[in-house]
Each structure stands twice: as structure tokens, then as C-alpha cells.
């Protein structure tokens, strides 16, 4: 926040150009990575960040191992399911592990204080 204020006070000349150019490369957030990419596809049923608003199980904040084990069990027919058996077959072990990571550390995105 303080940097934005400095930006405001410095506006007036070439300094502004330098600064805002610097800001352009100064990335906000963490961008999109493969872990997020895999995990966000679940939100249509499990809710944004896995915070399910309805009867579909929430994933938010669950330990990565728990989600990964469940996905592998669905995939391998070891856990009964209506649709997750069909969906889990679309992923390798490595993809499941990466996907599960994103739900395990949801705190990073909601600290808007």
C-alpha cells in the first residue's frame, strides 16, 4: 500500500514513467500455475476454492494427502462414487498430487486484509 502512495506523490515527470514501468513488471498475486489450473476445474461442482455451498462435499482446507488418496481410490474403483469414478480416471498420480496441493493451502488467496 505504501508504494502506491509513493507512486502518487512522485507523479509529475519522468519519475512516473520509470515507476509505473517498474510496476508493470511487479506482478500482483502469484499468477496461474499448473496446480491451480488443475484445481480450479473442480469449482463448478465443489465451489470456488472448494467451498461447496450445497450437498457436494467441500474440499477447502482438506489435507493434500486426503484429497489425493480419495481421488486415487475413486480412479481405481476402491471407493464407490456416482461421478467421481469417471472424473478421477482423467488424471495421473502426479496430476492428482498437484491438484490436491491447491486445496490444502487455500489461505494464500483469501487474506485480503
Amino acid at each position: 500500500m505504501w508504494r502506491s502512495k509513493i507512486a502518487l506523490t512522485l507523479l509529475g515527470g519522468t519519475a512516473a514513467l520509470t515507476l509505473s514501468t517498474a510496476m508493470a513488471g511487479d506482478a500482483g498475486g502469484k499468477g496461474a500455475d499448473r496446480s491451480e489450473m488443475l484445481a480450479v476445474t473442480c469449482a463448478g461442482c465443489h465451489g470456488t476454492d472448494g467451498k461447496s455451498p450445497g450437498p457436494i462435499p467441500a474440499l477447502h482446507g482438506l489435507p493434500a494427502d486426503y484429497i489425493a488418496d480419495a481421488m486415487k481410490a475413486f480412479r481405481d474403483g476402491k471407493r464407490p462414487a456416482t461421478v467421481m469414478n469417471r472424473i478421477a480416471k482423467g488424471y495421473s498420480d502426479a496430476e492428482i498430487d498437484k491438484m490436491a496441493e491447491a486445496f490444502a493451502k487455500p489461505g494464500e488467496d483469501d487474506d485480503d486484509e
Binding site: 508504494r3 498475486g29 469449482a43 488424471y91
Partner: protein, 432 residues
């Protein structure tokens, strides 16, 4: 999130105001035009299943990107679950959503106005009120236009008498009212188009839920599907359900048995097939479709009427710096469904943010999960996981598919419960 990302809307506006009034106007003007948000400026056209998600996930991946969503209507009526309104299971309120929380929670500027033109060279979107929006990247999620020249006699005014109800809202209300007013023993005709069209299982869920309503209220009535196809989505599951739940109430006439519709006679309430006609008490005519007119006017469509894109990131192959998602785009093996649009919105968001940040985009991944209700407590689904293969969105082999046939009642009940869960989750993903 680091501190400097928390520049609020007001601060950003002040920044711009100050920039505009500063002495080195030319210099600053250039800078702020190119980079109003720290990492660029994105305009999203269309606030449906694709557009809301692209807007929200761009902000989630990089809050410093300035995102403006342009949507003509102040509220959105979802097509998913609109068949439950037709059946009297839900009111219109259930499928009505506004954009307030989406805007507030995600720092998205939402403008309710009509897009009159897009200038791909000037990177500018013109609005009906005369304003124009500059962008670095444009996301178009405009949905479909109905082809009112395709069927003889079925123009826009014919849709008052024979509603398509393939865009939810007043058309949904109109068809519901007609069903309510129909006498017992009446014939409801549903005429779905040939592929590709929005929501492939939609007409068959509609037939099911209308039959459910009629069975309870007007049991001598029937539902006749006059189809321009030989097969349809979740076909075996729907046909099993129809036989089990509705006996002979639902008739399906494929193209090869004279089902193909060529036009309508509005005055006589007839639906015209290639060699015959059917008299309807209520006619739900769903005409062929193409990408929304604005996509056509922007030069984003090819001879098919849909928008070709680089399927890795939804960048148009015809216009620079425009990504097309949702029903309007050609997305490999993905159907034109709400979930597909949701998934595409996230892939496009990741690609756009990565490009604006000068990073390599993550390898894309998509899912489609789509429930249909054959009755309030009878759900069936189709699902798929997709990956990019040779530049095309391709279903992962061995994954996905439809619900099993001959499943126990408990499975159908669970899937009906999950259908509601799906609706709650996907609309919350879109509108909060």
C-alpha cells in the same frame, strides 16, 4: 497477497485522475493507456457461464489486472435449471442472479450496457451509451444467436407464439404460461435442432420435466419430440427413464422417421416436418444456432458460424488479442455446456494473466460435468476430463462418460441431489 497489491478502486481512480492532470500529460497518458492496471487491462464481453468466470479468475490469478465486465442485462437467468421452472418445480427467482457480489468481492468493474462494436485494431469496445473501453486483452463470451432464417416461418415474432426458451428469461416465462394454460389431452411439441447447439441434453431434460408436470396435472397429454438428429446426448439413459417414469407420454421421432422440422405455420399452430405436419397445443421450437451476432460483426466467426480459436488458450485465430470462450467458440471435443464455458473461462484467464505477466502459461486442463433431471428425484450425468493433444481439446482416454444404465434408484436420487449441488456451486463460482 503483498501489500502493494491492495491498491483500492478509489486509489486506482485517483492514480489515473492524477496521471491525467499531471504536467507531463503526453508521457503519462501513454503509460496509463497501455497499463491502467499494473499488469494490463482486460475487458470481458458477456456475463454468462464463461464471462463471469474469466473475469473472476483473471483477478484471482493477478489482482493487479484491471478487469471490466460488460453485460447487457442487470440480472442473468441461467439456462441450466430453467427446465425446472417450466415444470413448476422452481420459480424464476431460483434461476435469477445479479452481478453485485461478483463486482464487489473481486474488484471487477461491471458495466450494464450493450456492446455496439468491437474494433480489434484499435483495441476498443464501443458501448450503446457512446462510451468506449480500451483493452490490452478482450475476452468475448457472447453466447449464441438463434438463426431466425433457418426454419420457414420461424422468425423473432414467431417465438412469441412458439417459444424457443433457449435463452432463459421472458421466453422461459412464456413457455411456462403456455404449459399452464394448456388443456389436458394436449400435445406439446419440442423441436430440437441438429448439432452443434447449446446444451445438447437440454431438449431431452425439458421433455422429461414437462412430462413430469403433465403427469401430475394433465395426464392425458403427450410430449412429441421432432428431432433433426438420429441420436442425442445421454440417449439410452433418457429413454430408460422415459419408459420407467412416463410410459408412452414421450414420443421421439428421429430424422429418419420423419422428425426433421423444416418450418412452422404459426396461424394454424402447426410444426412442419419434411413430408408432413404436426398440430401442437404448445410448440417449443429450438432453431439452429451460431455464435452471437457481435462475434460475427467482429470478424471472429468462420464459415461454420462459430469462432475458431487456438484451443490451448482460446485466442481467436482471426483477430489479435481477442479470446473467445463458451458456446460461441469451437472447442474441440467439448460440448456447448455451462460447465464447459466455466472451464474454458479459467484456461483463458490463466493464459491471459500469464501473457500479461510475461510468464509461460500452465498446461491447460478442462472438465465438463453436466447433470440432467429426468424427474425431480431422478438425476443422470455426463462427465469428461480434457487435455490438449496436437492442438485440440481432447477427452482423456478411459475417463468420463455417462451414468450407468440399470443403476439402483439410490444412484438416480443421489445424482438428482448432486444436480442441485452442481447448480449451487457453479452459480456461486460465477456470481460471488
Amino acid at each position: 497477497m503483498s501489500e502493494e497489491d491492495n491498491m483500492t478502486d478509489t486509489q486506482r481512480r485517483d492514480f489515473l485522475k492524477l496521471a491525467g492532470s499531471a504536467p507531463a500529460l503526453g508521457l503519462l497518458g501513454t503509460v496509463s493507456t497501455a497499463r491502467a492496471g499494473k499488469n494490463g487491462r482486460v475487458v470481458v464481453v458477456g456475463g454468462g457461464f464463461g464471462g463471469t468466470i474469466a473475469a473472476k479468475y483473471i483477478k484471482r490469478f493477478d489482482p493487479s489486472v484491471e478487469v471490466t465486465l460488460v453485460e447487457k442485462n442487470p440480472v442473468y437467468y441461467t439456462c441450466p435449471f430453467s427446465n425446472t421452472v417450466l415444470a413448476g418445480m422452481n420459480s424464476m427467482d431460483r434461476i435469477t442472479h445479479d452481478y453485485k457480489k461478483l463486482a464487489q468481492n473481486n474488484d471487477i468493474k461491471v458495466i450494464h450496457d450493450e456492446v455496439t462494436a468491437v474494433d480489434p485494431d484499435g483495441k476498443k469496445v464501443s458501448l450503446k451509451d457512446g462510451k468506449a473501453l480500451q483493452y490490452d486483452k478482450l475476452v468475448m463470451s457472447p453466447g449464441i444467436s438463434l438463426d431466425f432464417n433457418a426454419l420457414e416461418g420461424y422468425d423473432e415474432s414467431a417465438a412469441d407464439k412458439m417459444p424457443h426458451a433457449w435463452k432463459a428469461g421472458s421466453q422461459t416465462r412464456r413457455l411456462r404460461t403456455q404449459l399452464e394454460n394448456m388443456k389436458d389431452g394436449g400435445t406439446v411439441i419440442i423441436a430440437p435442432p441438429d448439432n452443434p447447439f447449446r446444451c445438447p441434453p437440454g431438449p431431452y431434460e425439458r421433455a422429461s420435466l414437462i412430462a413430469h408436470y403433465l403427469k401430475q396435472n394433465k395426464p392425458k397429454s403427450r410430449v412429441v419430440i421432432l428431432d433433426s438428429k438420429e441420436k442425442f446426448s445421454k440417449m439410452a439413459l433418457f429413454q430408460d427413464a422415459w419408459a420407467e417414469l412416463y410410459g408412452n407420454m414421450i414420443e421421439w421421432w428421429p430424422k429418419s422417421q420423419g422428425g426433421e422440422v423444416r418450418g412452422v405455420d404459426i396461424a394454424k399452430m402447426r410444426v412442419l416436418t419434411v413430408d408432413d405436419y404436426w398440430k401442437a397445443d404448445v410448440a417449443n421450437v429450438i432453431p439452429p444456432q451460431r455464435a452471437n451476432q457481435i462475434a460475427q460483426d467482429t470478424g471472429l466467426t468462420n464459415e461454420s458460424g462459430w469462432c475458431p480459436v487456438d484451443q490451448a488458450n482460446f485466442q481467436s485465430t482471426l483477430q489479435d488479442d481477442i479470446h473467445v470462450i463458451g458456446d460461441a467458440c469451437i472447442a474441440g471435443a467439448m460440448p456447448k455446456s455451462g460447465y464447459a464455458a466455466n472451464s474454458q473461462g479459467k484456461v483463458a484467464a490463466a493464459a491471459i494473466v500469464s501473457e500479461l505477466r510475461g510468464q509461460k502459461p500452465p498446461e491447460p486442463s478442462w472438465v465438463n460435468t453436466c447433470y440432467s433431471l429426468a424427474a425431480p428425484q431422478y438425476g443422470i450425468s455426463v462427465a469428461a476430463v480434457y487435455e490438449l493433444e496436437d492442438g485440440k481439446i481432447t477427452g482423456v482416454e478411459g475417463a468420463g462418460g455417462v451414468s450407468p444404465r440399470q443403476a439402483p434408484t439410490s444412484t438416480r436420487t443421489m445424482e438428482a441431489i448432486y444436480a442441485k449441488g452442481w447448480y449451487n456451486a457453479i452459480t456461486e463460482d460465477m456470481f460471488t
